[in-house]
C-alpha cells in the first residue's frame, strides 16, 4: 500500500472527490494548510499600505491506497485538480507498512 499526499487548490476538492469515487476511492483525510512555492503569495492591503502574504491557502489530501491503484489515482488527481495555472499543487507517494481499521482491528487492504 502507498500513502498518496496531494496538495491542491481549496476549491478543487469538489472536482477531485467525484473523480476518485469513480476509482472506488472514498476514504480520505483532508487538512487545511498554507502553501509556499512558486506561486508567489499575494498582496493584501492594510490601511492603504500593500503587504505581501507569502503563502496561499491549500488543501492537503491524504489517502492510503492499494499499490495497484496508485497510478490510476495519481492520474485522476492530476486531471481533476488541474486548473493549469501556477500553484495547482503537488502529489507525492510514500510507502505504507501497516494499515489498521480502528473499529474492527482489520489489517492491510481489508482495512481500506
Amino acid at each position: 500500500m502507498q500513502l498518496i499526499t496531494a496538495i491542491i487548490k481549496p476549491f478543487m476538492l469538489d472536482q477531485v472527490r467525484p473523480a476518485l469515487e469513480q476509482l472506488g476511492v472514498y476514504g480520505m483525510t483532508v487538512t487545511e494548510v498554507s502553501g509556499f512555492g512558486r506561486q508567489k503569495g499575494h498582496t493584501e492591503i492594510y490601511r492603504g499600505a500593500e503587504y505581501q502574504v507569502s503563502f496561499n491557502p491549500k488543501l492537503r489530501l491524504e489517502m492510503v491506497v492499494d499499490d495497484l491503484q496508485v497510478d490510476a489515482v495519481l492520474d485522476a488527481l492530476v486531471s481533476s485538480a488541474r486548473t493549469g495555472s501556477i500553484g495547482d499543487g503537488k502529489i507525492w507517494t510514500t510507502p505504507v507498512g501497516a494499515l489498521v481499521r480502528v473499529r474492527t482491528g482489520e489489517r492491510g487492504t481489508d482495512a481500506l
Binding site: 476549491f11 469538489d14 509556499f36 503569495g41 498582496t43 493584501e44 499600505a49 505581501q52 507569502s54
Partner: protein
C-alpha cells in the same frame, strides 16, 4: 410647534438605534455567507450607509418629504441639500426639530437599501452595487416613501396604514430583491452546493442588534414618546417572540430540530411583519402576527429552490413575504383602542381597510419590482453588477477588497512591501 425635549430625545435615540441596525444587518448577513465573502458583505453594508445618506441629503429627502409636486406622487425640491432645515414636513405636526425627523427618515432609507445586499450576496460588484444603491434610493425608495410616509402622499391619503414601513421598507425590499437576483443570476454552484453559514454566532449577534434596533424603527415611528410609542414597542417585541416560536415550532415538526438560525430568522420575520402594524394593533394581535410571520417565513424561504431564483439570504422570503403578511394583518387587527387611525376587520371595520392594505401591497411590490429591474439592467450593462467568475471562486474578500477576514494562525509569513 414647540419642541419637546422628551420627544426629541426619543426620536434621536431611535435614529441612533436605526443606524445601529445597519452594522447589525451586516453581521446578520455576514455570518451567513462563507468566510471568503464575509468582508464583502460588511463592506457593502457599511458603504451603503454612506452612499444612501449623502444621496438622501442632496435630493432623496426632498423627493420623499418635500411639499408635493402634485397628485401625491413626489416631493418638490424645497429640502434639496437639506435646505430650510427648520421647516416642517407638510402635514406633520411634531414636537421635534424637523432636522431630527429628516435624519430619522434617512436611516430608514439606509436600512432598506442595505437589505438588498442579502439578496445579491457573494457575487455583486462593489462599485456596481453602490451605483445601483444611489439610483435605487432616488427612483424606488423616495417615491414609495412619499406615497406612504408623507401625509400628502397618494397612498397615505387613500388611508393605507403603514406604521413603520411594511410597504415602503419590507415589501419594497423583497420585491426589489427578486428583481435584482433575476438580473444578477445565480451564484456559481447554486443550488447544488450548500453554502452553509460560516459563523452563526456572528449572525446571532446581528439578530440581537436588529431586535434591539427595531424598537427604534417601530416605536420611533410614533414620533413622540407617549402611549403610542409604548404600545408599538411592546408589539414589536411580542411579534419577534411570536415569530421565533412560530418558525422554531414548525421547523422542529418538519425536521426534528429547532435550529439557532431558525430562531433568529423567525424573530426577524416577526419584526418584519409587525413593522406596518406596530402602532395599530394590541399586544395579543402582535403575538399572532408574529406567529403567522414565523410560519410564513419558513415556508417562503423554500420558494427559491422551487422557482430557481437565487435570493442568497432570503430577502424575498423573509422581508417580502412577511411584509405582505404584516401589511394585510393591519386590515384585520387594527383597533381603535390603540390608534384611532383605523379599524380592521376584527374591530368592526369591515373589509375596507383590508382592501386598502392589499392595494398598498400590490402597488409597492409592482412598482419596486419593475423599477428595480430596470435600474439593475442599466447598471449591469454599464458599470457591471456582477464580478467575474474567478473572483467569485476565490472569494470577494480577497478578489475585490484585497483582504482576508480571519487570520487566526498568527499570520506568519507576511511582510510589508515597502516602508
Amino acid at each position: 410647534m414647540p419642541i419637546d425635549a422628551g420627544d426629541t430625545a426619543w426620536l434621536m435615540l431611535c435614529t441612533a438605534l436605526v443606524l445601529f441596525m445597519a452594522p447589525g444587518l451586516a453581521f446578520f448577513y455576514g455570518g451567513m455567507v462563507r468566510s471568503k465573502h464575509v468582508l464583502s458583505m460588511l463592506a457593502q453594508n457599511f458603504a451603503v450607509i454612506a452612499v444612501v445618506s449623502v444621496v438622501w441629503v442632496v435630493v432623496g429627502y426632498t423627493l420623499a418629504f418635500g411639499p408635493d409636486v402634485g397628485g401625491g406622487l413626489l416631493g418638490g425640491l424645497h429640502f434639496a441639500g437639506f435646505a430650510n432645515p427648520n421647516d416642517a414636513v407638510p402635514g406633520l405636526h411634531l414636537h421635534v426639530p424637523p432636522i431630527a425627523y429628516a435624519t430619522f427618515q434617512m436611516m430608514f432609507a439606509v436600512l432598506t437599501t442595505a437589505l438588498l445586499t442579502g439578496a445579491g450576496a457573494d457575487r455583486m460588484r462593489f462599485s456596481g452595487f453602490l451605483a445601483f444603491a444611489g439610483l435605487w434610493v432616488l427612483l424606488v425608495y423616495a417615491p414609495l416613501a412619499h406615497w406612504v410616509f408623507s401625509p400628502v402622499g397618494w397612498l397615505a391619503r387613500r388611508g393605507l396604514l403603514d406604521f413603520a414601513g411594511g410597504t415602503v421598507v419590507e415589501i419594497n425590499a423583497g420585491a426589489s430583491a427578486l428583481a435584482l437576483v433575476l438580473v444578477l443570476g445565480k451564484r456559481r454552484g447554486w443550488p447544488h452546493d450548500a453554502m452553509a453559514p460560516h459563523s452563526l454566532p456572528l449572525t446571532l449577534l446581528g439578530a440581537g442588534i436588529l431586535w434591539f434596533g427595531w424598537f427604534g424603527f417601530n416605536a420611533g415611528s410614533a414620533l413622540s414618546a407617549g402611549d403610542l410609542a409604548a404600545q408599538a414597542l411592546v408589539s414589536t417585541h411580542l411579534a419577534a417572540c411570536g415569530g421565533l416560536l412560530g418558525w422554531a415550532a414548525l421547523e422542529w415538526r418538519a425536521t426534528g430540530h429547532a435550529t439557532t438560525l431558525g430562531a433568529a430568522s423567525g424573530a426577524i420575520a416577526g419584526l418584519v411583519a409587525i413593522t406596518p402594524a406596530a402602532g395599530y394593533v394590541n399586544s395579543g394581535a402582535a403575538i399572532v402576527i408574529g406567529l403567522l410571520a414565523g410560519a410564513a417565513g419558513l415556508y417562503a424561504v423554500r420558494l427559491k429552490f422551487r422557482h430557481g431564483y437565487d435570493d442568497s439570504l432570503d430577502v424575498v422570503g423573509v422581508h417580502g413575504v412577511c411584509g405582505v403578511v404584516g401589511t394585510l394583518a393591519v386590515g384585520l387587527f387594527a383597533t381603535h383602542t390603540v390608534n384611532p387611525a383605523g379599524r380592521g376587520l376584527f374591530d368592526g371595520g369591515g373589509l375596507h381597510l383590508l382592501g386598502t392594505q392589499a392595494l398598498g401591497v400590490v402597488v409597492a411590490a409592482g412598482y419596486a419590482f419593475a423599477v428595480t429591474a430596470l435600474i439593475a439592467l442599466v447598471v449591469q450593462k454599464t458599470i457591471g453588477l456582477r464580478v467575474a467568475d474567478h473572483m467569485e471562486l476565490q472569494g470577494l474578500d480577497r478578489a475585490v477588497h484585497a483582504e482576508t477576514a480571519y487570520e487566526h494562525g498568527g499570520g506568519f509569513g507576511s511582510s510589508n512591501r515597502s516602508f
